[in-house]
Subunit: 118 residues, 2 copies
DNA sequence: CGGTATCCAAAATGATACTG
DNA sequence: CAGTATCATTTTGGATACCG
């Protein structure tokens, strides 16, 4: 308990904040299974828009959780992959999913922000 | 894999959504240790406003994660306590905190919404 | 294919003042 | 003590069009 005496709440809050975002956890779950290209993620996550997918991927990249690899091909191809750092999140995600499987029920599914379909 | 074949992503996303909110995880961490009254939570969470604390507590209550007990005393007293259902989250929170303790570093600490101090 | 650029709507958070 | 009521501001998410 010396210099870096962050409390557990602090640690947790920071880690959680990094995964906040409507689609981040789902993206991480998919990348935890295997490398995905942009289009694959798009198809695997029904309802997400290009705009959001791009934005969330950029944030995850900035936080050092995923890597982005661009291939100079035609047609263009971009691969997204989890970093070793992020792979340590696997157990946490499984624990959360397991908890829900036991105690979960119906969730009101709170609406997100953004314009509604006219 | 019969009727209720929710995928792990689904389970996780729902559980995660229930904990979304800038202060919810921190509140849950504190309540996981012991019962707290409103004022105690306020002092234990530097930076939170009455407005936000009330709002987040109400949502946690609506999701069945905490109970609210009002005592007809003067001065008023309100206790908040975790439900048995929520206690199952302990391991998940610890796993997340542990992961951060190992892989975490500095987080940019993204700013929140709302009016800035003038 | 894999983005960016704009514009816009809605939700989330915050400051501040007031109340039983 | 433990809220509620307003209102301001910021972020988030989405629609649509366009680009290398």
């Amino acid at each position: 308990m010396a210099e870096t005496d962050f409390t557990m709440q602090d640690e947790m809050r920071r880690a959680f904040a990094m995964l906040s975002g409507k689609w981040k956890l789902e993206i991480m779950w998919l990348l935890n299974q295997r490398i995905h290209r942009f289009g694959e993620l798009r198809k695997a996550i029904p309802g997400i828009t290009q705009h959001m997918l791009t934005a969330q991927l950029r944030e995850l990249e900035a936080d050092g959780l995923i890597t982005r690899t661009v291939f100079a091909e035609v047609p263009p191809r971009v691969d997204y992959e989890m970093t070793p750092k992020a792979r340590g999140l696997g157990p946490t995600m499984e624990a959360l999913a397991a908890w829900w499987a036991v105690h979960g029920g119906t969730v009101p599914v709170r609406p997100g922000a953004g314009r509604r379909k006219s």
